[in-house]
């Protein structure tokens, strides 16, 4: 077709063999920038099907069915993880658990599922661990190349499109990548060299504060504070409370975009992926508002991951949390959810005790006043 002819698409693919497509220093230099752009997505071994396209006997249904149904499960929540990302007026929150599982075994309780791509973009990965690592590196390389060639960063939607196009040739194979790109589009107000920093003392603050937890409803804003070193004030000045619908057409703002290896690409406000995602969605849908503060958003994300790890066997261990604003990403210390679980149990115990006390007090009052029938049954 016309566009194919212009790009020479089919010619490139048909006469390759695996060895000629390995990266080659001289080969890079000889190519024109246009060719380089076009071929950059294919600088690795292409999937076996494309190499043998000419040699295969055409079969209708076998190829159709093999590409349609790689898994025969009733439904495909096969990514054993909980990752989530959502936007709000003050940026993007990306959160994930840290458990890497393989069938019934926890392969690694401290894996890192959120990986920064550049100063204003992180990617939450789920699916096959090896695939995610590889594709995250490929995406980082391509984004860096784009930035060097065009002197500006590729937008989140552009990065999603790029990743989607790169994954498309592998559709139907066992590549399993479900990535959520969370980032901030557009010009930033200051250069972001200092924006990628660890918040070291938040964890200490949370541990000391045993009564108040970030996750309880009453004190959602209390103890979870991003230790804003010098940027909190600047951030609140810079980011306006934008109407969510206006940021999609606008040039800058928070973005979250989901890319899947079967080709699904979605832009949205709240994205959660993995086997724990239904539980996370329930919490997020309930608590999300565009006008949330940073503390509320962080608390919401933590609670969502915590609940998901509680109910889902394939998610657990710790929670990682990143917050991306116009100034770049900031990482909150990894937090062990086991502690949170025990804190919650303590809180529940306390609540039950208080309820008991109140009930006894009420009974006592009723007996004194003579209104209650001492033989009547009290519930609870």
């Amino acid at each position: 077709m016309a566009l194919q002819d212009v790009c020479g698409f089919l010619e490139t693919l048909d006469d390759i063999s695996p060895c000629t497509y390995l990266p080659n220093e001289m080969g890079y230099m000889r190519r024109t920038p246009f060719e380089f752009d076009r071929d950059s997505a294919f600088h690795f071994l292409p999937p076996p099907q494309q190499c043998s396209r000419k040699n295969r006997a055409p079969t209708l249904f076998s190829s159709t069915f093999s590409s349609l149904s790689p898994h025969q499960q009733p439904f495909q929540l096969s990514h054993g993880t909980t990752t989530l990302g959502f936007i709000f007026q003050d940026g993007v929150i990306a959160a994930a658990d840290t458990r890497a599982s393989c069938k019934g075994l926890i392969c690694c309780p401290i894996s890192q599922k959120i990986m920064p791509i550049h100063s204003h973009l992180v990617v939450n990965t789920s699916g096959s661990g090896a695939d995610c690592m590889l594709w995250e590196r490929i995406l980082t390389r391509e984004m860096r190349l784009y930035q060097l060639r065009h002197r500006k960063r590729l937008s989140v939607n552009g990065a999603a499109k790029l990743l989607s196009m790169m994954l498309h040739p592998f559709k139907g194979t066992n590549v399993c990548v479900a990535a959520t790109l969370c980032g901030w589009d557009g010009e930033e107000t200051q250069e972001t060299l200092q924006s990628c920093m660890e918040i070291a003392d938040v964890k200490k603050a949370v541990e000391q504060d045993s009564n108040v937890s970030a996750i309880s409803d009453e004190s959602a804003q209390g103890s979870v504070k991003m230790a804003s070193i010098n940027e909190q004030d600047e951030i609140s000045k810079d980011t306006q409370a934008l109407n969510p619908t206006s940021t999609f057409g606008g040039r800058s703002g928070p973005r979250v975009c989901y890319v899947c290896s079967d080709g699904l690409q979605l832009k949205g406000e709240i994205i959660s992926v993995g086997s724990g995602s239904p539980y996370a969605y329930a919490v997020l849908d309930d608590g999300w508002r565009w006008g949330m503060t940073v503390d509320e958003a962080v608390a919401l994300a933590r609670e969502a991951v915590f609940r998901a790890t509680h109910w889902d066997a394939y998610s657990g261990n710790n929670v990682d949390l990143f917050h991306i604003t116009a100034h770049g990403w900031r990482r909150r210390d990894r937090e062990d959810l086991k502690e949170e679980y025990y804190r919650e149990r303590e809180r529940e115990k306390k609540k039950i005790k208080e309820r008991e006390k109140e009930r006894q007090k009420r009974e006592g009052d009723e007996l004194v006043e003579g209104e209650g029938d001492i033989y009547s049954v009290h519930c609870g």
Partner: protein, 199 residues
């Protein structure tokens, strides 16, 4: 679970698609647009397998636009439909067939409105009304009973509102000689009975 419908009137085509983007059991988006604008007066509605829909529809969309850039005039709906079918057929017996079901709706100055039904096996049929998805089983028979070629836009929109299933919302668009118009998004309606007095 996905649903497309198109109805051709005397001088317009009315199309509607549901707004759900689902990933297994989770609805990931409630406001997903399944219509792709090929030109000022042609819409392509596309459902099917997750990545194939967007990939194929955008491929067709860009090629139709390229044709206009090269030649200075747009493809007619009939030509666009046949081009789409040819591409589906070419990919069908390749390693990477596209599993997509399509409706192409357009208005041609010379031929008037046209609605083309295409499925993943690259069948093509020009039809006065067509639907894709599980909802098609229910709506095609109703359309058979109540569709009249000379129906006005208003009665057809009412018809549309009546039998849309329990999907949360639908995007509705109308194509006539003035181009593509967005109609109001239809909210969830239950399944009422259709009586002749309501037409």
């Amino acid at each position: 679970m996905e649903y497309l419908i198109g109805i051709q009137g005397p001088d317009f085509v009315l199309v509607a698609a549901d707004n759900v983007a689902a990933s297994s059991i989770i609805q990931m988006k409630h406001d997903y647009d399944k219509m792709f604008k090929l030109s000022e007066k042609i819409l392509l509605l596309c459902v099917g397998e997750a990545g194939d829909t967007v990939q194929f529809a955008e491929y067709i969309q860009k090629n139709v636009q390229l044709y206009k850039m090269r030649n200075g005039y747009e493809l007619s709906p009939a030509a666009a439909a046949n081009f789409t079918r040819k591409n589906l057929a070419d990919y069908l017996r390749s390693r990477t067939p596209y599993h997509v079901n399509l409706l192409l709706a357009g208005y041609d100055e010379a031929d008037g409105p046209g609605l083309y039904y295409m499925d993943y096996l690259s069948a093509l049929a020009k039809a006065p009304f067509a639907a894709h998805g599980y909802g098609a089983f229910l709506t095609l028979s109703i359309l058979d009973r109540y569709y009249r070629p000379g129906d006005s836009a208003l009665s057809l929109i009412r018809l549309n509102k009546r039998f849309i299933l329990n999907l949360p919302s639908f995007t509705v668009r109308l194509i006539d000689k003035d181009g593509i118009h967005d109609m109001e998004k239809l909210p969830r309606v239950s399944f009422p009975s259709l009586s002749s007095s309501d037409r």
